[in-house]
């Protein structure tokens, strides 16, 4: 019998190893299963508390809102079939009573009433608490009708009920932090911080939906690994595609990239002390920065300069001239500084976070351009938690921030522009912008569309002068997926982060 030598054994092992490795070790796409790379673990899934867009994506699948958006970003009914303003100025929602909760209970107007009451409750920490407290009375004349009588006339009430923090839950839920929902999916398995497995809810009432029975959401906090997971076939779809990798996705015929310019970067100011209590100084900052460089460097060209109030192009409120109201004009910036009493500029601080590369890169570019007009800004880079804390307490001079409006209606910018609201890290601190705030309120109370358009154009003019914030750059919000995946759309503008709701319609073709 032939005795194997060391050489033959090694050669055989190498041969076996190459055979094993020649087969791809990654799982192939499976019908009925969608593997989704989620950018962050949802801190919690309490339906009305704002805990970020990743949590929002999951919540939109576990729950339903009264209204949602179609793939063009137009309002469409979810739990409400129709909505209108009645003759007395109350908002009336006609409900879809076919809907069933995950426990089999029928959806009725009592659930809407209960939800609103929970959100507006005295000890609530809900994101829409203040808004729901503007409802004077909730009337439920029958199981299919809800009538909201407002304390003041408000045109944007339907928009509130599209937010992913406004899920409608079953009124008999034993735990208000984890109430029973009526979304297309229910949680089948999960491991904290690692994955969530959603399975089609047994009582979901929309025929043929959800398109995919099992949705496995794996957390990839690192954006490059998230992209690598898609490219290697570990997942079928990812959110928050890194800007640096978008070109590679576009170049791959097996993948598809959907982007929208929705979120934006902006500059915030501490207006409680000189020099930023002077709108001319704030406007000087607005004219000092060349936005193209931010788009090119921080976002790899995936975005657009933002030289005005962040109104989404293509909406009725957008105006070409106003959108250039803070155009790059260093001479104008220097003139404004001189007019404000700072002909030689001044020294200040610029707060940002090093935790997110885009914030840091944006701040570094802003710093250079401010220096070019005489404003020497010392960069203060902190972790995100510290950035939030310093922002809320007004412990900064200028700050770089990145955010998205609540919705595409200009009223969705209230969270950014209304500096009369309580202190927040995403709003300028103590900046006086009374005309902007008043026009926001006026627009909110106006129901005639043509008049609203004019009011919000006036609001933009006021904001360009009062400068409650400075727009810097739109950034592309991207979803990437296997080319065979169908049914998903990236919603336009500020709605991009709400696109996760469309996973209900998404499946491998």
């Amino acid at each position: 019998m032939h005795t194997p030598t060391r050489r033959t054994v090694l050669a055989s092992l190498a041969g076996l190893a190459s055979l094993r490795l020649a087969e791809p070790a990654v799982a192939a796409p499976q019908p009925g299963l969608l593997r989704y790379g989620l950018a962050a673990w949802p801190p919690n899934l309490r339906p009305w508390v704002s805990t970020g867009a990743a949590a929002g994506t999951v919540k939109m699948l576990l729950h339903r809102r009264l209204l949602g958006f179609d793939d063009k970003g137009e309002l469409r009914g979810e739990l409400a079939r129709e909505w209108k303003l009645d003759a007395d100025g109350a908002w009336v929602f006609t409900l879809n009573t076919d809907a069933l909760f995950h426990n089999g209970e029928a959806f009725t107007s009592a659930d809407v009433k209960w939800t609103i009451e929970q959100v507006a409750a005295e000890r609530s920490t809900a994101y829409y608490r203040a808004q729901m407290q503007q409802i004077d009375r909730i009337e439920t004349p029958d199981a299919a009708t809800v009538r909201l009588v407002m304390k003041e006339p408000l045109a944007t009430v339907p928009q509130w009920f599209t937010n992913y923090n406004m899920a409608i839950a079953w009124h008999g839920s034993p735990d208000v932090n984890d109430p029973v929902g009526c979304g297309p999916y229910a949680i089948a398995a999960q491991e904290r911080g690692t994955f969530l497995e959603l399975r089609a809810a047994p009582h979901y009432w929309r025929p043929g939906l959800p398109k995919t029975r099992t949705l496995r959401m794996v957390i990839y906090a690192d954006e490059n690994l998230r992209l690598a997971a898609l490219q290697s076939g570990d997942v079928d779809m990812i959110e928050y595609v890194p800007w640096s990798g978008m070109a590679a996705v576009e170049a791959d015929p097996n993948l598809r990239l959907l982007t929208q310019n929705g979120p934006f970067m902006d500059l915030l100011f501490n207006g409680t002390r000189p020099p930023f209590n002077d709108p001319r100084v704030r406007r000087a900052c607005a004219h000092a920065v060349k936005r193209e460089d931010i788009v090119r460097v921080a976002f790899f060209g995936r975005g657009a300069p933002l030289e005005g109030v962040p109104i989404v192009e293509g909406t009725p409120w957008w105006d070409a001239e106003l959108s250039k109201g803070w155009n790059y004009d260093p001479d104008r910036a220097r003139a404004l500084l001189a007019e404000a009493g700072f002909p030689n500029g001044f020294s200040t601080t610029l707060l940002s976070t090093s935790q997110f590369g885009m914030h840091q890169s944006t701040a570094e570019i802003v710093q250079q351009y401010l220096a070019a007009v005489g404003i020497q800004a010392e960069l203060k880079l902190t972790d995100w938690s510290t950035r939030v804390s310093l922002g809320i307490r007004g412990q900064y001079d200028i700050a770089v921030h990145g955010v998205s409006a609540d919705f595409n209606d200009p009223d969705g910018l209230t969270v950014v522009l209304d500096t009369s609201l309580s202190a927040a890290h995403g709003r300028s601190f103590g900046v006086q912008a009374p005309r902007t705030v008043a026009l926001l309120a006026k627009g909110r109370a106006e129901f005639d569309q043509a008049k609203r358009v004019e009011i919000y154009k006036d609001m933009q003019r006021a904001a360009l002068e009062e400068v409650p914030m400075v727009g810097l750059a739109w950034r592309a919000q991207g979803y990437a997926m296997q080319a065979s995946l169908q049914g998903f759309a990236n919603l336009p503008g500020a709605l991009s982060t709400s696109s996760g709701a469309l996973l209900e319609f998404t499946g491998l073709g």
Binding site: G52, A126, T382
Partner: protein
């Protein structure tokens, strides 16, 4: 026995100091769990909501009261619950600690499997081409940061060759093959630096042992070179290697943070990073206490191993 008790007492004292420092440090640095939680994603929370959440989480209580409650819980073995989602800290640690330990163990095995034979061979053939080549490779392995190597491994094996998944975790109970496949790249990244250390230490120790009188005597007695190496050289050279290995295994606990993040390996690092970001005090303190206890345990175990390898230590 007295030695053991003294070691245990010191360890407990050290852990209390660690817990107190971490607890106080987290409360001193800027950042509030309620503010951070409600600001996730850049949204601007209502000031009332933040205040209410602080009350619900007990963050409005004086620091001394919070510390007292925390210590009282510790004495009962209760690490508390996460401020973010009420999840029990101990449960999170129990789930993830074995994965971190597995990664460290696998990394150490790789380090020993590479470093020990290479170091021995380099010493035996010192000054030759193999010795010089191995030294150069060790220098590269030691100097390349783990996140660079990790990213390169993903790029080559997951994105270009598509032989491996880019990262993640499958429990061994759901597929041993896939589990080991997913473990291989992070373990390599964790073990590469230690492999270089083991290589250097082994080479130096074997070189030292080779020049000893007893080795010369063994050769003079007519033992084969392989037998001399195995019985009289490597065995004597193992003690310092084991000590270095033990010390570095403790340090690997820190090194896994980046590797787990890069490869999406769900060990202790991810919840630790997330908890620090969220200022989730109970989770941070719980994990750091666990890591500290592990570090002390590894050191204790290495003391025993060192004594076992060289009985003269016990006698002295």
């Amino acid at each position: 026995m007295l030695w053991l008790l003294r070691r245990l007492g010191t360890s407990l004292l050290l852990m209390w100091v660690v817990a107190t420092i971490v607890f106080m440090a987290l409360h001193v640095v800027p950042g509030d769990p309620a503010e951070v939680l409600l600001s996730t994603g850049g949204t601007s929370p209502d000031a009332y909501a933040v205040a209410e959440l602080r009350t619900q989480l007990g963050l409005d209580l004086p620091l001394s009261v919070q510390y007292g409650r925390f210590l009282a819980g510790l004495t009962r073995g209760d690490l508390g619950v996460s401020l973010v989602d009420d999840y029990p800290v101990a449960q999170e640690i129990m789930l993830r600690l074995p994965r971190t330990l597995e990664l460290i163990l696998a990394g150490s095995l790789i380090a020993v499997a590479i470093g020990l034979p290479t170091g021995t061979l380099a010493a035996v053939r010192h000054g030759g081409g193999f010795d010089r080549g191995a030294g150069a490779v060790a220098a590269v392995l030691q100097s390349v940061p783990v996140f660079v190597l990790g990213t390169l491994l993903i790029l080559v094996f997951a994105q270009w060759l598509r032989w491996m998944p880019a990262g993640g975790f499958v429990p061994a109970s759901q597929g041993l093959g896939q589990h080991l496949l997913l473990l291989s790249l992070p373990a390599l990244a964790v073990g590469k630096g230690l492999a270089a250390v083991v290589y250097r230490m082994t080479r130096a120790s074997v070189l030292d042992a080779l020049s000893r009188d007893h080795v010369r005597t063994a050769r003079a007695k007519g033992l084969t070179p392989r037998r001399v190496l195995a019985r009289h050289v490597v065995r004597n050279a193992l003690s310092p290697v084991a000590t270095v290995l033990g010390l570095h295994m403790g340090a690997l606990l820190g090194g896994t943070v980046l590797v787990e993040y890069v490869f999406n390996w769900p060990g202790l690092s991810t919840p630790l990073l997330r908890a620090v970001e969220a200022r989730d005090y109970p989770m941070v303190v719980g994990i750091i206490l666990t890591v500290s206890a592990l570090f002390l345990l590894i050191n204790l175990a290495m003391d025993f191993l060192y004594a076992a390898l060289d009985p003269r230590i016990l006698r002295s």
